[in-house]
C-alpha cells in the first residue's frame, strides 16, 4: 500500500503530464480519471491528457450540480462528481462464480481475480480516506473480499490536492482533507501563476518515486512549495458545509426515537441516490441466476442500498418498512455504528449525498437538528414523540 514519504518534491510541467500517462500505460495500467460526460465530470477510461476536463469546474449545492467554465485551463479545477473510485474497486456488478450441472453433479468455477492494473488519476484527499474506509470493510482478519483486494493491490494512485472547496464539501470537519497526506503513490498540486502551468508533485511510495523519476521533472523550490500550500489553504477556507463530530456516536445512539427522523422521512424519497454516490457505502446483494435449461447457474454480486425494502426482508415482511427506519439506518450507520464496526467514521465529508439528493437532504443539517433538540428546555420534550 502507498504511504507517505516526506522527501523532495518535484515540479512537473503541465505539458509533460502526458508523459506520466505514457509511463503508466507502458507498464500495463488501465488509466482512469475525470472527464466530462453528460453534463458532469465522471471517472472513466482516459486515452490521453486531452480527455481531462480542462477549464471546467463544478457548482454544487443541496440537490444541484452544474458544470461551469473556468477562466483558466486548470485540469483539476473541480471537486467531486457522481462517481467515486468504488465504481472501479468494488464494481456495481461482478460475477462471483459459474456452475454447470451434468447428470446431477455440479461443477463450480470461481471467477478469476482481476488481472488488469489500474491507475487512478485525480484522487481527492476525501477519496483517499474513502478508499481506506472501504479497505477496512473488505479486508478483515477473518474474511477478505478477494475481488476487492486484487483490484486494490494493483491500483496506482495519483492524488490531487484541492485548490477550491465545493458548495457541499466538509472534509475539514471530518479530518479528511483538503490536503492528501497518505494513501497515494503520487500527489499533485496544480499551480497556474504568471503564465506558468505546473504541478508540485510529492511521492508517497517507492512505486510513485519510480514513476515520477521516469518523467521530466525538476526539484521544487521553497517558493513553489509555499504556492502549493497556499492552494490547499484556500480550499480549506471555503468549505460549503460543516459538521460538529463531537460525541457524534453517542449522540445518535441516544436519539433513535427523536421526532426529527419522522421529519426527515416526510422529505426522503428513499431513492437511494445517496448510497450510490457515497464513496464508502458497501451494501451489496447476491443474484443467483440460471439458464432456461437449468443446467448452468451463475452467482452475481451487485450494489444494493439500505433504502430498499428488500434489504431487510425476512419471511413475511421487512424489518425496516418505514422510510423513517431506512433513513435512520443509513445515517446512524454512516456516522455512528460504523465507528463501532470499523474504528472510523463512514463519512469522509465529500458532500455527494447532499448534492445528489433530489430533495437536498443534508446530513450535516440533520446532525445539527438532533444536537439542538437535546438542548431544548424540558417542557418542549414532554410526552413521547415518534415511537415508544
Amino acid at each position: 500500500m502507498a504511504g507517505q514519504l516526506h522527501e523532495q518534491e518535484y515540479i512537473l510541467e503541465r505539458n509533460h503530464l502526458q508523459k506520466l500517462f505514457d509511463v503508466l500505460s507502458r507498464s500495463g495500467h488501465r488509466i482512469i480519471g475525470p472527464t466530462v460526460h453528460d453534463g458532469a465530470i465522471v471517472y472513466d477510461d482516459l486515452n490521453s491528457v486531452d480527455n481531462l476536463p480542462a477549464g471546467w469546474t463544478d457548482v454544487q449545492e443541496g440537490g444541484t450540480y452544474r458544470l461551469k467554465r473556468r477562466d483558466d485551463e486548470a485540469l483539476f479545477g473541480y471537486n467531486v462528481g457522481p462517481y467515486s473510485w468504488k465504481n472501479f474497486l468494488f464494481p456495481p456488478r461482478t460475477r462471483l462464480w459459474q456452475a454447470d450441472r451434468n447428470a446431477g453433479t455440479a461443477q463450480i468455477t470461481d471467477e478469476p481475480p482481476e488481472a488488469q492494473k489500474m491507475a487512478f488519476i485525480g484522487v481527492r484527499s476525501c477519496e483517499l480516506h474513502a478508499i481506506a474506509v472501504q479497505d477496512r470493510v473488505f479486508i478483515q482478519p477473518k474474511f477478505v473480499n478477494i475481488s476487492y483486494q486484487s483490484r486494490r493491490e494493483k491500483a496506482f494512485i495519483v492524488a490531487v490536492n484541492c485548490g477550491q472547496a465545493g458548495g457541499t464539501c466538509f472534509c475539514v470537519s471530518m479530518n479528511t482533507g483538503p490536503k492528501a497526506t497518505k494513501g497515494y503513490d503520487l500527489a499533485l498540486t496544480e499551480i497556474i501563476e504568471n503564465g506558468r502551468h505546473y504541478f508540485v508533485v510529492e511521492a508517497g511510495s517507492e512505486a510513485g518515486k519510480t514513476v515520477i523519476e521516469q518523467v521530466p521533472n525538476t526539484p521544487a523550490g521553497a517558493a513553489q512549495r509555499s504556492a502549493a500550500e497556499a492552494v490547499v489553504a484556500t480550499a480549506a477556507g471555503q468549505m460549503g458545509r460543516q459538521m460538529d463530530t463531537t460525541g457524534i456516536k453517542d449522540l445518535l445512539y441516544r436519539n433513535y426515537r427523536n421526532p426529527r427522523w419522522e421529519e426527515v422521512a416526510s422529505r426522503c424519497l428513499t431513492c437511494a441516490n445517496c448510497t450510490m454516490v457515497c464513496p464508502t457505502c458497501f451494501c451489496s446483494t447476491v443474484e443467483d441466476v440460471t439458464n432456461l435449461k437449468g443446467d448452468h447457474a451463475e452467482r452475481w454480486q451487485r450494489w444494493d442500498s439500505c433504502f430498499t425494502m428488500d434489504l431487510s426482508y425476512i419471511h413475511g415482511g421487512s424489518v425496516r418498512s418505514s422510510a423513517k427506519a431506512r433513513y435512520r439506518q443509513w445515517m446512524t450507520h454512516k456516522l455512528a455504528t460504523w465507528i463501532d464496526q470499523f474504528g472510523t467514521s463512514g463519512c469522509v465529508g465529500c458532500g455527494r449525498c447532499i448534492t445528489w439528493c433530489p430533495v437536498a437532504i443534508d446530513l450535516t443539517e440533520e446532525v445539527r437538528a438532533i444536537r439542538e433538540s437535546e438542548e431544548l428546555p424540558t417542557e418542549s420534550k414532554e410526552g413521547h414523540h415518534g415511537d415508544t
Binding site: L96, S284, T285, D288, L311, S321, K324, A336, T337, D340
Partner: protein, 287 residues
C-alpha cells in the same frame, strides 16, 4: 461479546461465496410446513462439524441460497442435519430434493450457544416454534456431558400440538429423570391432554435457581421479548440470557450489510448474542 465457536476448518474452497455441493442422504417431514434434510458432509468430515447454534448457507442449484441453522448433533460427523421451514421459493425447492440430489453448502458461520459457560449452573432452554431446531444441538451437547450442569429445564411452546417439532425425541427427553421438559401450545382441540397457554407461564413455576442459571432462548422475536421479561421478573440477569436473532442474509461473512442490527452483523457477531450486549438496540422498533 459473543460465544466463540471452536476453530473449524472452513468447508469452502478459495471463494468465500462459493458453495460446496453435498449429497442429500435423507429428507423427512416433521410437521405441516417443516422438514429435516440430512446431508453427507464435505470432506474431511470430522467432529465437530459445527458449534451448536451456527448456521450454513444452503444453495439450491439455480434457485437461490438461504441461511439455515444446523439442527443435528455436533459430535456426529456422519451427517450434516438441518431443519427447514417452507416459507419461500428456495425452501420449497429444497423440500423437493431427494436422496442422491445435491445441495450447496457454505459455512458454518456465526456465534454459538454458550454451552461451556453454562457448566456448573442450572440451564434453562426456552424454545418457540421452529426455535427448537437451532437449540437442539445445544441440548445434545449438554446431555452428552450431563454431569457438568445443575438442573436442566426445557420449555417449548408452539402453536398447536400438530406443530410440535421432534415430538418423539421431546417425549424421550421428557421421560429422562435428569431433565425437566415442559411443552405447551397456544391452542388445542380438547383431545390434547397437555398444557395450553403461552410458554412464559411456565417460567414462574419451573424448577431452577434464577441466580445461578444460564438461559438460552430461541423463537419468534416477539416470543423472545416476552420470555426475556419473564425470566428477568424471576431474577435471571440479562447477562445470563442468550438469544438467537435473525436478519436477512446474503453473504454471511459481514460484507453485504444486510444483516445489521444496530452496530452488529448478525452473521458474524451473532446470531447468538448475550442479551445485555444488544438490549439497547433490540428494544428499538424497526432498527
Amino acid at each position: 461479546m459473543k460465544s466463540k465457536p471452536e476453530e473449524m476448518t472452513s468447508v469452502a474452497p478459495p471463494g468465500l461465496m462459493t458453495p460446496v455441493f453435498c449429497r442429500v442422504l435423507k429428507t423427512q417431514q416433521e410437521t405441516r410446513d417443516t422438514f429435516t434434510i440430512e446431508l453427507e458432509p464435505p470432506a474431511p468430515a470430522q467432529a465437530p462439524l459445527f458449534a451448536p447454534g451456527q448456521f450454513n448457507m444452503l444453495y439450491v442449484f439455480g434457485v437461490g441460497e438461504v441461511p439455515i441453522s444446523v439442527s443435528g448433533d455436533p459430535r456426529r460427523p456422519q451427517s450434516l442435519v438441518h431443519t427447514v421451514r417452507e416459507v419461500g421459493a428456495v425452501t420449497r425447492a429444497m423440500r423437493a430434493l431427494k436422496r442422491g440430489d445435491e445441495l450447496g453448502v457454505r459455512g458454518p458461520f456465526g456465534s454459538s450457544w454458550p454451552v461451556e459457560e453454562a457448566e456448573g449452573r442450572d440451564v434453562v432452554i426456552v424454545a418457540g416454534g421452529i426455535g427448537l431446531a437451532p437449540l437442539r444441538p445445544a441440548i445434545y451437547s449438554i446431555l452428552a456431558h450431563r454431569q457438568k450442569y445443575g438442573r436442566v429445564v426445557l420449555m417449548y411452546g408452539t402453536r398447536t400440538p400438530e406443530d410440535i417439532l421432534f415430538r418423539k425425541e421431546v417425549e424421550r427427553w421428557r421421560a429422562r429423570l435428569d431433565l425437566s421438559v415442559h411443552v405447551t401450545v397456544d391452542r388445542a382441540m380438547a383431545v390434547w391432554r397437555g398444557s395450553v397457554g403461552v410458554v412464559t407461564t411456565i417460567i414462574p413455576r419451573a424448577g431452577f435457581d434464577p441466580h445461578n442459571t444460564l438461559a438460552m432462548v430461541c423463537g419468534p422475536e416477539a416470543m423472545m421479548r416476552f420470555t426475556i421479561l419473564e425470566l428477568q421478573n424471576r431474577g435471571v440477569g440479562l447477562d445470563r440470557i442468550y438469544v438467537s436473532t435473525e436478519r436477512n442474509m446474503k453473504c454471511a461473512i459481514g460484507f453485504c450489510g444486510h444483516c445489521q442490527l444496530g452496530p452488529t452483523f448478525v452473521c458474524k457477531d451473532g446470531p447468538i448474542f448475550r442479551y445485555d450486549n444488544i438490549q439497547r438496540f433490540f428494544e428499538i422498533r424497526e432498527i
